[in-house]
């Protein structure tokens, strides 16, 4: 595969605007040129987040005519999704409001408007598909849940002609980005409940229980591990409207605790400096890691602290790294993870730092021996 040329300037401006300003975390998979010996690339694949998954589509411009509106090819799973047909069927007023009407290639926000419009149409398309299912339980859940803001639903086809309906329900009406002090997250973060209902076949007995799972982005996971939340069991004959309040109350407490834990971690890092000196590096927002420089006689080494989200219930994990001993590849020698040193969550913060300091005074001698043995002769 040869190197692809850069995107045509007008097209690049639109794509960059989309990536920088869209509230959705849209990803570009691939950029390539359509025409032969082209100066510019003119087509790319986008992954647009929808219903805790991604919808892939190829956006096709024409580098020879960059002023012409792009065309979109969706992946084959959605071959009865017909966005322009849906727009046309809603009448002239809707058509004139479309972002494709009077396309202006010099306006960098046009592609973003188009992607948002298509995602909106796709959301309605999926709702329509789910609404057409002949399943009483899903009909009921749709009717009760759809008024909820931000809810997304889609129909998933499985092999063997089985189908499932996936709901993505945003939980907690609190703004996580604002709750974390000095937060640097670009996109609005949310915790979602993913519920997958198997579509019951006709003549089948009682419907099977749905699969329930909490989902969040990797950003939220640095604050709070959704996998560790214990979900209440789904009782027979239950519906989502009953299930959600219990889970939300429980989750709210845990999120508040996780945010309080940031403060505890910050105080812990601050308590390290009287003993170890100022940390060389520390995570200033979520306070998940810190690195200090230590010396024992002539032996100098770094100590990396990684502090869990459940701090102070769980103790920090330590790794020592020598500044003087290197392996055959030239990388500094590190100790294995250390998390079995004496610890009590009931100690006050200065005492925690002191106990770690005392532990390291002894442990660094072992580490020095370990380093000398590990050095290739």
């Amino acid at each position: 595969m040869s190197m692809e040329p850069p995107l045509s300037p007008l097209i690049a401006a639109q794509l960059n605007h989309l990536l920088a300003y869209s509230p959705l975390s849209v990803k570009v998979e691939q950029i390539w040129a359509g025409s032969r010996n082209a100066r510019f690339s003119d087509r790319f694949t986008l992954s647009i987040p929808f219903c805790l998954d991604y919808v892939k589509c190829d956006v096709i411009y024409d580098a020879l005519h960059p002023s012409v509106a792009p065309d979109v090819v969706f992946s084959s799973e959605y071959d009865d999704f017909d966005p322009l047909g849906d727009i046309a069927s809603e009448g002239e007023a809707r058509v004139s409001k479309s972002s494709l009407c009077d396309w202006n290639s010099k306006d960098p926000s046009r592609l973003m408007a188009l992607v948002h419009e298509l995602r909106d149409l796709y959301m309605h398309y999926q709702r329509r598909r789910v609404g057409e299912l002949d399943d009483a339980r899903i009909k009921f859940e749709m009717n009760t849940m759809l008024p909820r803001e931000g809810i997304e639903v889609c129909l998933v086809s499985l092999p063997d002609r089985l189908e499932e309906v996936k709901f993505a329900v945003p939980l907690l009406d609190m703004d996580l980005n604002k709750l974390v002090p000095a937060c640097t997250w670009r996109h609005q973060q949310k915790i979602y409940l993913q519920i997958i209902f198997p579509v019951s076949r006709r003549n089948s007995s009682a419907p099977a229980a749905p699969r329930v799972k909490l989902v969040s982005t990797s950003e939220v996971k640095t604050l709070f591990s959704v996998e560790d939340v214990k979900l209440p069991p789904w009782l027979d004959g239950m519906c989502l409207a009953e299930y959600l309040p219990a889970i939300e109350d429980n989750l709210k407490l845990q999120v508040v605790e996780a945010i309080a834990s940031i403060g505890a971690r910050r105080r812990f890092i601050e308590a390290l400096s009287p003993l170890f000196g100022r940390p060389l590096e520390a995570d200033p927002v979520l306070c998940r890691r810190a690195t200090v420089l230590c010396a024992s006689g002539a032996f100098t080494f770094l100590v990396h602290f990684s502090i869990p989200t459940q701090f102070p219930k769980q103790q920090p994990t330590l790794v020592m790294q020598s500044s003087q001993h290197f392996n055959s590849q030239g990388t500094p020698i590190s100790s294995p993870l250390i998390n079995d040193y004496p610890w009590s969550p009931r100690w006050d913060t200065p005492q925690m730092a002191e106990r770690i300091f005392e532990f390291l005074v002894d442990e660094c001698l072992n580490f020095k021996k370990f380093c000398i043995e590990a050095i290739p002769q």
Binding site: R36, D62, L64, H65, P66, D71, V73, D82, L84
Partner: protein, 348 residues
């Protein structure tokens, strides 16, 4: 399968159960696509024929008894249609007859179709060639196909339909979409051309349509296609000439004996016109001069033949200069257009 495809769609229009394309037509579309600098699109022309009706079934309750005359008439009306693509019109600029939302721009479509030289009634659909892109219809291609289908009297130009094709043509709507894609390896060693044909089918509710992939039969020279070629009737601009070896007057006299005087005058006029057309093709080398090449007058044979060749060569040479001059002018114009275009698009 064929019987199922013959069932009319929601709009009462029968579907094509077989789509074929002549080898040269497909080759010229691919050639046009391969030689163009970017993506292309255009219109497809051809004709529609009725395939023999499927074998009647005994349990065919829908059409009544297959033995009754009404039943067989209905069966004939519902027999599958076959579309044959014989020509195409590649449009000079892409996306010229539809807008970004896939709505047709009727005047430009009408202009394009009338300039193609194909009768308007023979529009079968359209094609789109886009390089290095998936062989699935895009959202706009789907919308354009539906618009083309929905606009039945779009191509009603004032020109009378070509009589020679009328008998072959059955009423139909343009519903074929041919999608082409091509790619090359980095070192230009391997060129891949792919195509797929689609037929538009309206959805049950009458809202929107679906482009269904269809197999495309390629009609080629060979024993398997002999039937296709024997049913072909050539159409030529060359006039029909009766054998006139005895000379004009003699033939004229004979005809005058058989028919009325007025009619013979008409006939004379017609013959004169045809003679004139023939004369212009021979380039002054009439039957009288040809006569001198045989028999006793053959002594001048060599010089006459040389004269004939000389005239032909002169004609060829002037044609060649004409072609050369116009090609140079076209190239110049193309350069100017691409320069202007890149200025307009803001690339410079």
């Amino acid at each position: 399968m064929a019987a199922a495809a013959a069932i009319p769609d929601g709009d009462g229009h029968p579907l094509f159960s077989k789509i074929s394309i002549s080898g040269p037509a497909l080759a010229s579309i691919i050639e046009r696509f391969a030689s163009s600098p970017g993506d292309i699109d255009g219109l497809l022309f051809g004709h529609v024929t009725r395939l023999p009706p499927p074998d009647p079934r005994d349990d065919d309750g829908g059409h009544g008894s297959p033995n009754s005359s009404a039943g067989s008439a209905a069966a004939a009306a519902n027999s599958p249609l076959a579309a044959t693509i014989t020509g195409h019109l590649s449009l000079a600029s892409r996306a010229s007859f539809y807008d970004a939302l896939g709505r047709l721009i009727s005047p430009s479509l009408r202009n394009a179709a009338s300039s193609s030289g194909h009768p308007a009634a023979s529009l079968l659909g359209w094609f789109s060639g886009r390089r290095r892109s998936p062989l699935r219809p895009s959202m706009r291609e789907r919308a354009v196909s539906l618009s083309l289908f929905r606009t039945p009297d779009l191509l009603d130009t004032n020109a009378p339909p070509d009589r020679s094709l009328e008998s072959l043509d059955l009423p139909h709507r343009p519903s074929i979409f041919l999608l082409l894609s091509s790619s090359t390896t980095g070192n230009q060693a391997v060129h891949t051309h792919e195509y797929r044909a689609f037929a538009l089918r309206l959805r049950a509710g009458g809202v929107g349509g679906v482009l269904e992939p269809r197999s495309l039969d390629i009609v080629n020279v060979g024993p398997a296609f002999r039937a296709q070629y024997s049913s072909f009737s050539p159409v030529s601009a060359f006039p029909w000439m009766p054998c006139q070896l005895r000379g004009l007057e003699e033939g004229e006299r004979e005809m005058g004996n058989k028919r009325g005087g007025g009619e013979s005058l008409n006939r004379l006029q017609e013959l004169a016109m045809e003679q004139h057309l023939l004369d212009s093709s021979t380039g002054g080398f009439g039957a009288e001069r040809l006569e001198r090449l045989v028999g006793p007058a053959a002594t001048g044979y060599t010089s006459e033949l040389e004269d004939l060749y000389g005239k032909m060569l002169l004609k060829l040479e002037s044609l060649a200069t004409l072609v050369e001059e116009s090609s140079a002018r076209i190239l110049e114009q193309e350069g100017r257009i691409s320069e202007l275009r890149s200025r307009v698009e803001g690339l410079e």
